[in-house]
């Protein structure tokens, strides 16, 4: 299923509304990164990736390895909208007996490639998958999403070196560059800049893009797919809490759920945005 630009924008909006509803219902979870990455996930699953929701374990599918597992509400909402499982299940997030664990569990949910949560681990798994695809001359690619705060973990840099060693040009890593982590801004907690230079010095190709803009993302992924001989990092500059005025840019919304009232306010804002998108 390939959506056009207007449809992708609307899909990102739908995903954001689903995230807000899920978190209000769950009463816990991580809205900041989830909302900020809705456009990236909309473009990946409804434009860029080769996958089939009816055959989640199709051998030649592109893999999506979420490394910062705490933003799983955006992945769950995307998978449900893509048809991997009924949307009604989204409201079971974080509840007893639910498939939708607080951090993703492989095997529970169709479309989930890896259990994640402890930061840094998904990146290594993505590297392992890309090695298999390359060695066996398969055409499928590995997309992986990591948070910028996640780059504090040493494990990811071990993975980056290995990806470069094996020239994994079938690995496209999207960094959610939203400048926040739990205790504050990434600049305050542990400065990352110059991030693009760091990746380049590790042998990666770097594409910097606007992570909340559907057209820019399509351009970035198209460019990334054409690169050969090195792994690709897309540094997606995003607004955490995107679309909800009182959450945007604020690190204190990294990991707390909106109340019912806050959720209603957020949905009203997102619904207004949707109306503008529809007439655009």
């Amino acid at each position: 299923m390939k959506l056009n630009i207007k449809e992708l924008k609307l899909m990102a909006n739908t995903i954001r509304q689903d995230i807000v509803k899920m978190l209000v219902e769950a009463k816990s979870g991580h809205p900041g990164g989830s909302l900020g990455m809705a456009s990236v996930f909309a473009v990946l699953y409804f434009h860029t990736m080769r996958h089939d929701p009816k055959t989640p374990d199709w051998e030649d599918r592109d893999r999506m390895v979420l490394s910062n597992g705490h933003i799983c509400p955006v992945l769950y909402a995307t998978l449900a909208n893509a048809g991997y499982f009924p949307k009604s299940e989204l409201m079971s997030l974080r509840k007893l007996g639910s498939k939708l664990q607080g951090h993703p569990h492989r095997g529970n949910v169709p479309g989930i490639e890896n259990s994640s949560g402890p930061l840094g681990q998904g990146v290594s798994q993505a590297v392992g998958m890309a090695i298999v695809s390359k060695r066996e001359k398969k055409s499928w690619k590995v997309y992986s999403v990591a948070g910028d705060g996640e780059l504090n973990e040493g494990q990811v840099w071990e993975g980056f070196m290995l990806a470069s060693k094996y020239k994994l040009d079938n690995l496209i890593l999207i960094i959610d560059r939203n400048n926040i982590q739990i205790d504050g801004t990434t600049d305050d907690v542990l400065p990352l800049e110059p991030l693009a230079d760091k990746f380049r010095s590790f042998g990666w190709a770097v594409i910097e893009t606007a992570g909340n803009d559907v057209s820019s993302l399509i351009k970035a992924f198209t460019e990334a797919q054409a690169i050969s001989g090195q792994p690709i990092a897309i540094i997606a500059k995003t607004m955490p809490g995107k679309g909800v005025s009182f959450m945007e840019g604020r690190f204190d919304w990294h990991g707390k759920a909106p109340t019912k009232e806050q959720g209603d306010l957020a949905l009203k804002e997102l619904e207004n945005e949707r109306k503008l998108l529809e007439v655009a």
């Binding site: 259990s115 392992g128 998958m129 090695i131 494990q155 071990e158 290995l162």
Partner: protein, 316 residues
């Protein structure tokens, strides 16, 4: 008669090579220690299924998880001090929670690694691995058993931990007709019912030697090789604990959480029996050769004899 000595890591390496020959789905990953862990035999023959990650054990576990998620069986090999010593979280979540077909080979385990000193002598790895859901833990007693154990865990779909040593140690299980069945302990000496010694790894041979010496003093021991620590053979442990009424455990590991802990848990629930544990007593060892360290820390046949005599005081 001089006994042949070989390192258990060699048994692993030979089995890995055989598995690679039989099954093109078998991969091997190592962290800059391919020769030391005997993964190099596989690497030379199957370079397309070998991954060298460098000194990066956390990444090694994750990369193997990624490989396994593509339907492969991956073996990760490094010194046990660093894998599982350094990458517990990755083993817990990327391997066990994902329930992926990755086998962890931890070589150079225990005080047996000797001169390298306490930083490299991991004495806590059995405890770490034993506590994990979906994990299987095996500690082979000699090179042949390591070979058989590696082939046996390859039959499983999920994660497993194989603990080996660098030290050349007596080769004896084959001559005794001992066959490895995962989860089924082997009774190697059944001389009497004064005490049962449950041992694993290099301590199995030492325990048999101790039993031989004790027989001269009219103390009749049964010696059981608990090569599989998880799932542990409850039936055999309970059977011999009941029969002998006195238990000694012996291991090159801290007495907390390893074989001693595992046996104590079984006995407490199924058949409370007086017992003593021989092992490292919540301490770090030091540099020295293996036999010197085993002597100093009471992990050799003489130490085990002392342990038995100590334990006999518990028996009225």
């Amino acid at each position: 008669m001089t006994i042949v000595k070989k390192a258990t890591r060699d048994g692993f390496g030979k089995a890995l090579l055989e598995l690679g020959e039989k099954d093109s789905n078998v991969w091997a990953v190592t962290a800059d220690v391919s020769e030391s862990t005997r993964t190099h035999w596989f690497a030379e023959k199957f370079p397309d299924r070998f991954v060298q990650v460098g000194v990066a054990e956390q990444n090694m576990a994750g990369v193997a998880a990624g490989i396994a998620s593509c339907g492969k069986m991956a073996f990760i090999s490094a010194f046990a001090a660093f894998s599982p010593g350094r990458n517990f979280d990755q083993i817990r979540v990327s391997l066990c929670y994902n329930d992926l077909n990755v086998k962890i080979h931890g070589s150079h385990a225990g005080a047996s690694v000797g001169p390298d000193g306490a930083s490299h002598q991991i004495l806590e790895d059995i405890a770490l691995m034993r506590a994990l859901p979906n994990m299987v833990v095996v500690v082979p007693a000699d090179v042949d058993e390591a070979h058989q154990a590696t082939l046996a865990v390859a039959q499983l779909k999920g994660p497993a931990y194989i603990r080996t040593s660098r030290e050349n140690s007596p080769v004896f299980t084959k001559d005794m007709g001992s066959v490895f069945h995962l989860g089924k302990a082997n009774v190697l000496v059944e001389d009497g019912d004064d005490i049962v010694i449950f041992a694993c790894g290099l301590q199995v041979y030492e325990a048999m030697e101790a039993a031989k010496a004790l027989k001269q003093q009219n103390i009749n021991c049964t010696v059981v090789n608990i090569h599989t620590i998880k799932p542990i053979d409850v039936e055999t442990i309970v059977k011999y604990a009941k029969k002998c009424g006195l238990v000694l455990t012996v291991e090159d590991h801290q007495i907390e959480g390893g074989l001693g802990g595992a046996v104590a848990e079984v006995l407490c629930e199924h058949c409370p029996t007086p017992m003593k544990r021989v092992g490292m007593r919540s301490q770090f060892a030091e540099s020295g050769n293996c036999s010197e360290l085993y002597k100093k820390y009471g992990l050799d046949a003489v130490g085990i004899q002392k342990g038995v005599i100590e334990a006999m005081k518990l028996k009225r």
